[in-house]
Amino acid sequence: MTDVPWLLLMIVVPAVGAAVVAALPPAREALARQLTLAVSLLVLLLAVGATVSFDPGGERFQHVTSVAWIPDFGVSFALGVDGIALAMLLLTGLLVPVVIGASWHDTAPAKRSMRVFWAWLLLLEATLVGVFAATDVFLFYVFFEAMLVPMYFLIGSFGGPARQYAAVKFFLYSLLGGLVMLAAVIGLYVVSESELGRGTFAFDALRQLDIDPGVQKLLFAGFFLAFAIKSPLVPFHTWLPDAGAEAPIAGSVLLVGVLDKVGTYGFLRYCLPLFPDASRDLAPWVLVLAVAGIIYAALLAVGQSDLKRLVSCTSIAHFGFIALGIFAFTTEAATGAVVYMVNHGIATGLLFLVVGMVISRTGSRRVADARGLAATAPVLAGVFLVAGLASLALPGTGSFVGEFLVLIGSFPERPVFTIVATVGIVLAALYVLLLVQRTLHGPPPDDEDAPAPSGGGATAVAVQARSRVRDLTRLETAVVAPLVALVVVLGVYPQPLVDLVTPAVEATLTDLGGAR
């Protein structure tokens, strides 16, 4: 259909860009960030190009390229996308330039250089594209592990006070999951060797295998653990609040917006089609985890006093919904899950960005220190509200479409789980509205610290201090504007997205049913 190797370019361009940025002389900091932005915008263009030339009704995998890589293992460097992968690529392509804009004026901690930051960011983008575009399980695994390294350094070198701890925790959790998945990947290869006579990692060949149910369960468990840690599902979630809180804002946005989607994407792309019997048998257990996560993480979020940890917790709750949609095994629910994945990336990404802007103004991550923001920074407060409402899936925002599809799709199959999950919506309203109330409204924090309200003096000083809190700069407006617009557009007119992903979702569910 097209000769442009879109996917390969989307990996090579940021990877080369990262190398160039890292090799720039230290004096060229400004050039480094301009180059980074240019590269990321080029990737976004490529993603759009790949989408435009993609035919939703055509072949399942398009823009396919495949080169033998390690023939001895039967590994190919095989790329290709279906609608789901393409949606994820668009999300990645969109969020990276946005976070570059959000970090535009950041300064590196002592003795570190922002060039390195930009380089790691671009390298992260390259590996993320690789994860979504790989159609060879081995290649997928390679990118899955490789993306830990840039994220590790982003958190560890440029993060908050407890960054070392958070970085190591993030890395070890993910690595442990990844290694268990490696065992399953090799196991899958061995099964393919005995069934096909020749070992392969090609996704299309593997999903046609007829694997013994007992073996399926073991292999499923290997993949599932890796993805459940990555998503994260309760009880594998404890790394996320730390990593999300300590990462620099750009890292947090990509971590929750895109990196975690790799987990749910993995459920859809690998767990369901490759291990249909195991998926069916074990689905109730997964749903227990999903629904428990919705409730538990929402309760955690209500109790958080740290802004970034709070947003991370809300994200865990949302992933419960996505997992519910995936493991309900209906087209509506799974489509809803994918739509939710995209919108969650946008909404939570936006929320993290806004929270980052609040933190950069107040100098504190504590919720209590951000009180009364609406009075002095109305536009910021407004965007905060939009992000919060999108996060609680208010009708009219994109998240609502996803959540609603998940719930109506799941109800016929799994009424009990769905009903319990619905409680999560109420809790979501609770934590978002509490957050909005505690941060945007009320008197500025200095009031309480003032000795006595007798004279107007103390309050005047506080107001004066607060009036220095500036509203959104033009750059910040430009950074949040596309996301705010998308929240609304995808909320009002989600059809193109739904059309894009539905055929891929149906193909996935056919694998699930057809292999019985």
Binding site: F73, Q164, F171, L172, A183, I186, E193
Partner: protein, 510 residues
């Protein structure tokens, strides 16, 4: 009295061995007759010629499959592959030995090893720039012994090779110029425990001979296939395995490893950690596959257990180390366990995977230890973990390289460590031992923690005010680091050629 029949010797097939042992013998003469001023240069050149010549020899011999020297030596694919690996690692180690830019006294080796540590004479010598060169012929002899070890097709030759490779190593471990007492303690410990292990091996040899009436591996193979689990044979096998596992640094026969790795001069540690491991596993593979190939049920449970113990001990004890050399020692114990999982593979895939892993691991470890020689304080190398804090700010290149080597040891994709792990675990799972693979992967995750700790220290911690300095390496060390880093990357990115080579070489003759 009948004429003594000379055994048939295929000199061509033994050329690599003869080359390196010849260079070693010539080195002894050089030590005696060449004037001091020219001695260091001559010795380095001679050792390099011997080892690189041996490497070229193994390449030229590729494809040879023959048993020679009256059945005592087997020159086949695995022998040549591993001999080539050992020769290459040996040549790189010699380059590390010859580094003269780092130590203010121009050499990492003691000027007069026989002078007692701490005496007046010793203090005089400590600052002299006299360079002693006996380490080069010693290294050549050790390499010769290792190469013989991998080709030994008969238990007596295997024992002789074991001694030829061990004795120089005992000496080399005691040659450190700085922290001499630690170094000498390491040498004595290594010698005593090594002698003990040799005795085990000999005892095992005797029992196996008693059970089968032969010391040739092929005859033992035939007999073990016939008699199965005869107690005498089993006992002999067990003792032989103990002797070999000691050399390979497999837990629970590992207790010498941390002390010796820490005490020996770092360049020697690099040599021991890489080349000795290759040689020891070469012998393990040959003994188990040729000698007991048809009685695999007798040793599989043993190797299975040893692999688990070694992985767990290496990974868990590595967590508590505060010295980089000791940490890498425990890492080598864990890796020995990973290698053993490959030994359990069947149908040649295990053999090929283990050989590839040995090559990849040897090069990466050599590079990591090579980097350790660069970071120094007033008392030689600063291998204490705390000294490495904030190294990335002082020397980004050294920190980046170390990170790369550590990630390779941790087995992250796009490094040779990952390809190697993948190959051995695949062999393990194919052989149906998937629980072992899962244990191995969990152990990898635990081990990753201590590798990561170094990365964290280097990048995310503030440097100590009186921390060590990073020396500027001379040409030899630079070459070693460049070669090992490039190999670690290439074997991760495009391992196809080498994997093919290992697979096609994985045919043993008996």
């Amino acid at each position: 009295m009948p004429d003594i029949q000379a055994p048939d010797l295929s000199f061509a097939a033994l050329a690599p061995l003869l080359f390196v042992l010849g260079a070693a013998a010539a080195g002894v003469l050089v030590e005696a007759f060449v004037p001091r001023a020219a001695r260091h240069r001559t010795q380095v050149a001679l050792a390099l010629v011997g080892m690189l010549g041996a490497l070229v020899g193994t390449v030229l011999l590729a494809g040879t499959q023959e048993v020679t020297a009256a059945g005592a030596l087997a020159v086949d694919g695995p022998a040549l592959f591993l001999q080539g690996t050992i020769a290459a690692l040996g040549a790189l180690s010699v380059l590390l030995f010859s580094e003269r830019a780092l130590d203010p006294a121009r050499s990492a080796f003691v000027a007069a090893a026989a002078v007692p540590a701490g005496t007046v004479r010793d203090r005089e010598l400590a600052t002299s720039t006299r360079v002693q060169t006996e380490v080069y012929p010693l290294a050549s002899f050790a390499v010769g012994g290792m190469m013989l070890f991998t080709a030994a097709n008969d238990l007596l030759v295997m024992f002789v090779a074991l001694e030829v490779l061990s004795l120089p190593l005992y000496l080399m471990a005691g040659l450190a110029r700085r922290r001499r007492l630690l170094s000498q303690e390491a040498a004595v410990k290594y010698f005593l425990l090594g002698a003990f292990a040799s005795a085990f091996f000999l005892y095992g040899l005797a029992l196996v001979y008693g059970a089968t009436g032969s010391i040739r591996l092929s005859d033992i193979g035939a007999a073990s296939g016939r008699t199965g689990s005869e107690p005498l044979l089993l006992l002999g096998l067990g003792l032989l395995v103990v002797g070999l596992m000691f050399k390979a640094g497999v837990a629970p026969f590992h207790s010498w490893t941390p002390d010796v790795y820490q005490g020996a001069p770092t360049a020697v540690t690099a040599f021991m950690a890489s080349a000795t491991k290759v040689a020891a596993f070469g012998a393990v593979l040959r003994l188990l596959y040729v000698g007991f190939g048809d009685a695999a049920d007798t040793w599989r449970p043993l190797v299975y257990t040893l692999a688990i113990v070694s992985m767990v001990v290496g990974a868990v004890l590595g967590l508590t180390q505060t010295d980089l050399k000791r940490m890498l020692a425990y890492s080598s114990i864990a890796h020995a366990g990973f290698l053993l999982t490959g030994v359990l593979g069947v149908d040649g895939s295990g053999l090929a995977a283990t050989m590839f892993y040995l090559l990849a691991y040897g090069l990466t470890t050599l590079g990591a230890f090579g980097l350790l020689t660069l970071v120094r304080d007033g008392d030689g190398e600063a291998s204490a973990l705390s000294g490495w804090a904030g190294l990335a700010q002082r020397s980004p290149v050294v920190a980046a390289l170390m990170t790369f080597f550590l990630l390779a040891l941790a087995g992250l994709p796009l490094t040779s460590g990952f390809t190697g792990k993948f190959a051995v675990f695949r062999a393990t799972i194919e052989a149906g031992a998937w629980p072992l693979a899962v244990v191995a992967l969990v152990a990898s995750a635990v081990a990753a923690f201590f590798y990561l700790r170094v990365v964290v220290l280097m990048y995310f911690a503030e440097p100590a005010a009186d921390g060590p300095t990073v020396g500027v390496p001379g040409l030899p060390t630079t070459v070693v680091l460049a070669v090992t880093a490039a190999a670690t990357l290439l074997l991760g990115l495009l391992p196809g050629t080498v994997l093919d080579l290992a697979r096609s070489a994985a045919v043993l003759v008996g």
